[in-house]
């Protein structure tokens, strides 16, 4: 089976090639999603390992997942889940494209062989390689349903990393100030819950600073400021062109 590795750094592709050496599977590396269609047209690919972050490239793995889905190639996310800014990308990938599994940059060669062999046999990966942690629930709203129910929410999330003034935020997102207030009230519990669910190893806890602590004592914490911090962490996600396409062309009504 030919396995395409979409990652902006070649050593990641080589690591997969090394892992698959002698298994009868062949790894082909592609450094950017924009080159993927040309390769997929040649056919013969049974699996794709997709990174979610492409450094300088202004695209994400979500674009690659769409190409792969269009060619009927099953995909596995191949991403660093230790980065706090990957979380929403992972959730979106599993929500919109249902990849068969997840491996991280720390996954061992043996695990990569196990996963590729399982997919080659037509089985689904087992254990943590399934990435169940990031899959949308069978019932009830998904994380993205809650965080991005409409394109208006996306417009506010897009601007939130840069502004902590609700009036300015409303202006830049082209919405009414009351919409911003509702947004803050609606999304605050979601972000809290997201943190409770995925906190721990997926998040980095920044050190407290003396200046920050002094400020904390003087000022009441505001949701806007805290959601601003959350949006800043996930700036790339909220400004991803493919996400915008997915949200605006979403056919199903978000479950709330």
């Amino acid at each position: 089976m030919r396995v395409v590795v979409i990652d902006n750094v070649m050593p990641a592709g080589e690591a997969v090639a090394r892992a698959l050496d002698g298994t009868g599977h062949e790894a082909v590396w592609v450094p950017a999603p924009r080159l993927l269609d040309g390769l997929l047209r040649t056919g013969g690919f049974g699996l794709a390992l997709v990174d979610l972050d492409f450094g300088r490239e202004p695209v994400s793995g979500l674009t690659a997942l769409r190409s792969l889905a269009g060619h009927g190639v099953p995909s596995v996310i191949y991403s660093a889940d230790s980065e706090e800014n990957r979380l929403l990308f992972l959730l979106a990938a599993f929500e919109f494209h249902s990849p068969v599994g997840l491996i991280t940059k720390e996954t061992t060669g043996a695990q990569i062989r196990e996963l590729v062999t399982a997919v080659g046999r037509g089985d689904r990966p087992s254990g943590p390689l399934r990435g169940d942690r990031y899959r949308p629930p069978a019932h009830g709203p998904s994380w993205l349903d809650r965080l991005l129910p409409t394109s208006v929410d996306l417009a506010i999330w897009e601007q939130l990393p840069y502004y902590t003034n609700r009036n300015v935020l409303a202006q830049t997102a082209h919405v009414h100030v009351k919409t911003v207030d509702k947004f803050l009230a609606r999304h605050w519990p979601h972000v809290e819950e997201l943190h409770r669910t995925f906190g721990g190893p997926a998040f980095l806890h920044p050190p407290e600073t003396a200046a920050g602590d002094a400020m904390l004592r003087q000022h009441r914490p505001s949701r806007l400021a805290q959601l601003h911090g959350f949006a800043r962490t996930h700036l790339r996600f909220f400004r991803d062109a493919e996400l915008r396409r997915l949200i605006t062309s979403r056919t199903h009504r978000p479950r709330t």
């Binding site: 070649m10 080159l35 972050d53 996954t107 400020m215 949701r223």
Partner: protein, 508 residues
């Protein structure tokens, strides 16, 4: 980004429950405010804005002075004491010239080396007070200039013989001159300087300055006599009140400064976050790949060294990305890759390596850059391992005739005794050179080692020529281009099986 801004976010929230800080957010973000310096007007912004505004103000005052000169020479002006009028207006003109000189830092620096001692001292003084909120020579001169100009047309001893119309026009121009000069003092960048902050006394005086200027105008324009009384009372009152306009102007200026500082802080925070994540991701991924390889049975030390060098290369790239970002004209130039790769070798080995100017100027597409980035360190390492003391590297784009795609050729010539065997032929299956040959095959290329003589290098009796070539992979504006600038790209072409036609670079 100010505390008050963030607090407004809590103002009309539908849910009354106070927000608990998220532990994963920075303390400053959780508190709803930014760090103290973020809410203060930025001295840098004030300095940049002030420099432009100052220069524009000088030109405005020069226009006012020119207008006053014009009033004196107009037909029918008939100043009663022409020499006095010229002398008074000359004081104002000299003050404007001095203010203009104060905006020309280069000229001032040259004047500090002047032979004339007063000029030297004046230049040193003006340079010394630059960026500080303090009274300086140009400030004093402009105050004197304003008084001199105004008391030419009004005041206790106005120049006689001017028609009422010319006198009123002169007074208005003089007031505009004074307003402009005083406005510079109100918005001087020195008020915001963290390095040489204004004294407490000056800071307390600042809010009173409009009133002080207003009081000065009351005194300057007072109808001391019939000649000065030509100015109608409503005009007198209005002109004296004009400095009060400084209050809204000052407020707008502060708002703009604070907004610029807040915007800069927000973008800096985003940039810092992105840089931190990028650095963390790059270093952690590199080390993860290394650990992954070390966990394999029977890891090859040569491959371990290569992975370490790869991590060093990524660190260098991250530094360049963060340091220069999108300012880099062509981040995929072979010359840039060459510099990066050399930095991962010890200094004595760096001195052994050269490349030619054409190769350095070759602009690679992103994919070809990645392939070259993978090939170059391996070929250099192999050459050094084979005992090379001198290595010449070239990279070129060979255009194919007809419809065939161009080929990127990377050649490494060394003066070593030569490799005993094809480095890509033997060794464990996961050896770097074998993997490299595999990748090049996928991209329609090949990797060869040949003795220099066999490769057609008649100038050498010994040495090896290692050659890697592959089909140029990139298309579009960012594609691989020869140094001359002509586009020589082809759309991605992986072939039916991903295997390409092999061409040797020596055959070109």
């Amino acid at each position: 980004m100010h505390g008050s801004d963030a607090d407004t976010g809590a103002g009309s929230r539908p849910t009354p429950r106070p927000a608990e800080p998220l532990p994963h957010l920075p303390a400053a973000a959780r508190s709803g405010v930014s760090t103290p310096e973020s809410s203060a007007p930025s001295y840098g912004v004030a300095l940049r804005a002030g420099t432009s505004l100052w220069r524009a103000g000088v030109y405005f005052r020069a226009a006012c002075v020119a207008g006053m000169w014009l009033l004196l020479v107009l037909p029918g002006a008939a100043a009663g004491q022409p020499l006095r009028a010229v002398a008074q207006l000359s004081v104002t003109s000299a003050a404007v010239l001095l203010a203009h000189l104060h905006t020309r830092l280069g000229t001032l620096e040259r004047l500090t080396g002047a032979r004339l001692s007063p000029a030297r001292r004046l230049a040193a003084h003006l340079l010394g007070v630059n960026g500080r909120a303090t009274m300086d020579a140009s400030g004093f001169a402009e105050t004197a200039g304003a008084l001199s100009a105004l008391w030419l047309f009004t005041g206790p001893l106005p120049v006689p013989g001017l028609s009422p119309g010319i006198r009123i026009a002169g007074i208005v121009l003089g007031v505009l001159y004074s307003l402009s000069a005083a406005a510079q003092a109100m918005i001087d960048a020195g008020w915001y300087s963290p390095y040489q902050p204004p004294s407490r006394g000056l800071r307390r005086l600042r809010p009173l300055l409009p009133l002080v200027f207003s009081g000065m105008l009351v005194a300057y324009l007072f109808p001391y006599n019939g000649t000065a009384g030509v100015l109608p009372v409503p005009w007198y009152a209005a002109l004296c009140a004009t400095p009060l306009l400084y209050y809204p102007m000052w407020a707008c200026y502060e708002v703009l400064l604070r907004a610029a500082a807040a915007d800069e802080t927000a973008h800096r925070a985003v940039w810092r976050q992105e840089s931190a994540v990028a650095l963390h991701s790059i270093s952690r991924n590199s080390l993860s790949l290394l650990r992954q390889y070390l966990d394999e049975p029977d890891p090859d030390p040569q491959e371990v060294r290569r992975l370490v060098r790869e991590a060093m290369l990524q660190a260098e790239e991250a530094r360049l990305d963060i340091q220069y970002g999108s300012d880099r004209a062509d981040p995929h130039r072979f010359g840039e890759l060459w510099e990066l790769v050399l930095r991962t070798f010890p200094a004595p080995q760096q001195d052994c390596c050269t490349t030619d100017a054409d190769s350095a100027r070759l602009s690679l597409g992103p994919v070809d850059y990645q392939i070259a980035r993978r090939v170059l360190p391996d070929l250099l390492t192999n050459a050094f391992n084979a005992g090379a003391r001198r290595i010449e590297v070239s990279c070129a784009l060979r255009d194919a005739s007809g419809t065939a795609p161009p080929t990127v050729c990377l050649t490494v010539r060394d003066n070593g005794p030569g490799v005993a065997e094809d480095p890509a032929a033997g060794g464990p299956p996961h050896r770097s050179s074998r993997l490299l040959r595999h990748w090049l095959t996928v991209y329609g290329g090949e990797l060869t080692w040949r003795p220099a003589a066999a490769a057609g290098d008649v100038a050498r009796n010994s040495g090896t020529v290692a050659s890697a070539h592959w089909r140029a992979q990139d298309s579009g504006d960012r594609g691989t281009r020869s140094p001359a600038g002509e586009e020589q790209v082809q759309p991605p072409d992986f072939g039916e099986s991903g295997q390409g036609e092999h061409r040797s670079c020596e055959s070109w």
